[in-house]
Amino acid sequence: MKKIFKNQIALALAGILAGTSAVAGTLVINGDTSDPAPKAAFQAVIDGFEAENPDVDVVYNLFDHEGYKAAIRNFLSADAPDIAFWYAGNRMAPFVEAGLFAPIDDVWADQGLYSLMASSAPGMTMDGKKWGIPYTYYNWGVYYRQDIFEDLGISVPTNWDEFIAAGETLKANGITPITIGSKYLWTAGGVFDYLNLRTNGYDFHMALTSGDIAWTDDRVRATMANYQQLIDGGFFLENHAALSWQEALAPMANGEAAMYIMGNFAVAPLKELGLDDSSLGLFQFPEITPGIPMAEEAPTDTIHLTAGAKNVADAKRFLAYAARPDVQTAWNKALGQLPTNAGAGVTDDKFLNQAFSMLNNNAPGGVAQFYDRDTKAEMASIGMEAFQEFMVKPERLEKILERLEKARQRLY
């Protein structure tokens, strides 16, 4: 309430000032950076922008991360800010289609982003236009207990057979190969993504998530057969359906499990649980079908110009500022993630360095956003629920695939 009030005063003041000075303006930004690190990181970006552009007053409305997902639908249509935080890929499609985001191809052209952000460009493109600025992304991969692997003489697996063999060795030593908590479903989506990307490749995966391929297709069955091999082999943590992803960190930290197919955000809590650079490692999900170019998962977070923006000129200045290499370097250093601008520097950190090189040098197949960002929202929830069910009741494969196919036919 207080914020809105302040906002209104600022607008009123801006209105008065507009009579005397044409450039003075208020820039309203709505965002979801509610966790401490992202919040501080974005505040620093605002401060930097205001220092460079003293004529612009930035008003930042901070929302709770989860509540934001519902709030954005209301405020975009009712009382749009100038800039809003969101995500790349299919996640932004409803807002683009409803005409609530505005294209910013001119910003991309002015800042030379077509070449500097070439890797994230596909996720920002719809109808041949660019709909926002990606400011950060993070890698996924297999985080593993380096010390346990070394003790048991397991080398980092690079193909499916080695991966299975590594799991068997771990099991023989009483260690669960892969920890996972599937209570909130999306973790299972990550496992499926990797299995499908490695079994059938990036193009097939994107076609499947865009609804162009039947779920009863034999190639999907091949992916599910690999999935089943892990399930039947007892590779996954027991009772995972009762655990959140955070609860599944504990077995990894205390050595009961050795691998976690996860995003970069798991590193910080794992280090808090006592692991360090010598006991925690990262490797690229191994090859399954030989010859298929490696593709990776790297969800991208973005900021967008809204269609209802009142201060378009300053909003575009801010978006250009947020895309700049030096700004992205500092911003992502504070976030502990990767910058999308190829000209930006990566924070010197074991995992970020490795991930950066993995994504830039060893992901020729392409970069996927994540199951729930690449598919339609409703299909995503049905799909991830199906993966969870499959992980507990693999014998229901046929029924599950039929259900997914039915949903696909209805939704696409």
Binding site: R73, L76, P94, K183, Y184, A241, A242, A377, E378
Partner: protein
């Protein structure tokens, strides 16, 4: 004008007093019901244009296995949640005595109703926790296998209902405790003289006098069962794979959750839930009406 008011004062006055209530009720309850029913014939994502699709949402419901599961769970909730009524009665009978410190015991029994449903949900989640939960520690102690109740599709709904019974029993207990205060001691005395004790005393002398309390207890319990939402959200989020959802939760997921925003479909689920509730509401209203007539 004045004489019209004079002549009809008795007829008009109640309506004037009722007007604010009727206005509010129509605006915030009756009108939205018709809005929902109307919306259930449309396809709408909450942002773009609405498309009229006739009864298609309802046809899809019939073929939606998640909807069937939710409906089935709602029935289980309705039946098992009523256990709170007899449980509350026996707790009340047990506590309806005068010993030292009985107020403290009563407070302890009433405690679960005072704390938030969210807390109840969390406490039971920890109780059921497969690795550190009390339930599985006890099971292991007696040599049974551990079970992750909240991750088993066959047990999860029962596990959540058990959590819900805890505060609901406390509520029914309070209703019965106040009811027991107004039981006529002379009738008990008369029953004693006629050699009634134990079950016969309870069934033929006490329970009939508790009828108003029983009626209220059943009503609030049924409403509680149909509203069951917070516990499901806290304990499982509808999982595993949607097997603990009820209609209210499914409606919320389809219409408002992160992956939902099918307003028309959500409205169709809400309409079905409303129809189920109408059966109970109509029964209750009919009984109230009969009681009024009788009294």
């Amino acid at each position: 004008m004045y004489s019209y008011w004079k002549n009809n004062q008795l007829k008009i006055a109640p309506w004037i007093f009722l007007a604010p209530g009727i206005l509010m009720f129509s605006l915030y309850v009756i009108f939205p019901i018709f809005q929902s029913v109307n919306l259930s014939f449309y396809q709408w994502d909450g942002l773009g244009a609405k498309t009229y699709i006739g009864a298609e949402n309802y046809i899809e419901l019939l073929d939606d296995e998640y909807f069937i599961v939710s409906l089935k769970n709602n029935v289980i909730w309705l039946v098992l949640y009523l256990l709170a009524v007899p449980a509350g009665l026996f707790a009340a009978l047990f506590l309806n005595q005068t010993v030292r410190g009985i107020r403290i015991y009563k407070s302890i029994f009433f405690f679960p109703f005072v704390i938030s449903q969210v807390v109840v949900g969390l406490v039971f989640s920890w109780f059921y926790d497969p690795s550190n939960g009390l339930l599985n520690i006890i099971l292991e102690f007696f040599g049974f296998d551990t079970i992750a109740i909240l991750a088993e599709e066959d047990y999860v709904t029962y596990g959540i209902i058990a959590a819900g019974l805890w505060p609901q029993t406390a509520y029914c207990m309070i209703l019965y405790l106040t009811g027991l205060n107004s039981v006529d001691p002379e009738q008990i005395e008369a029953g004693r003289i006629d050699n009634a004790r134990g079950w016969r005393m309870l069934w033929y002398v006490i329970l009939p006098q508790l009828k108003p309390a029983t009626f209220i207890a059943v009503v609030v319990t049924i409403i509680g069962a149909l509203r069951s939402f917070d516990l499901i959200d806290i304990m499982t989020g509808g999982g595993p794979w949607g097997s603990s959802r009820v209609l209210a939760y499914y409606m919320y997921e389809k219409a408002f959750s992160e992956y939902g925003f099918r307003m028309g479909y959500g409205a169709a689920i809400a309409v079905v839930l409303l129809l189920i509730m109408m059966v109970y509401i109509a029964t209750i209203l009919y009984r109230l009406y009969q009681d009024e007539k009788g009294g």
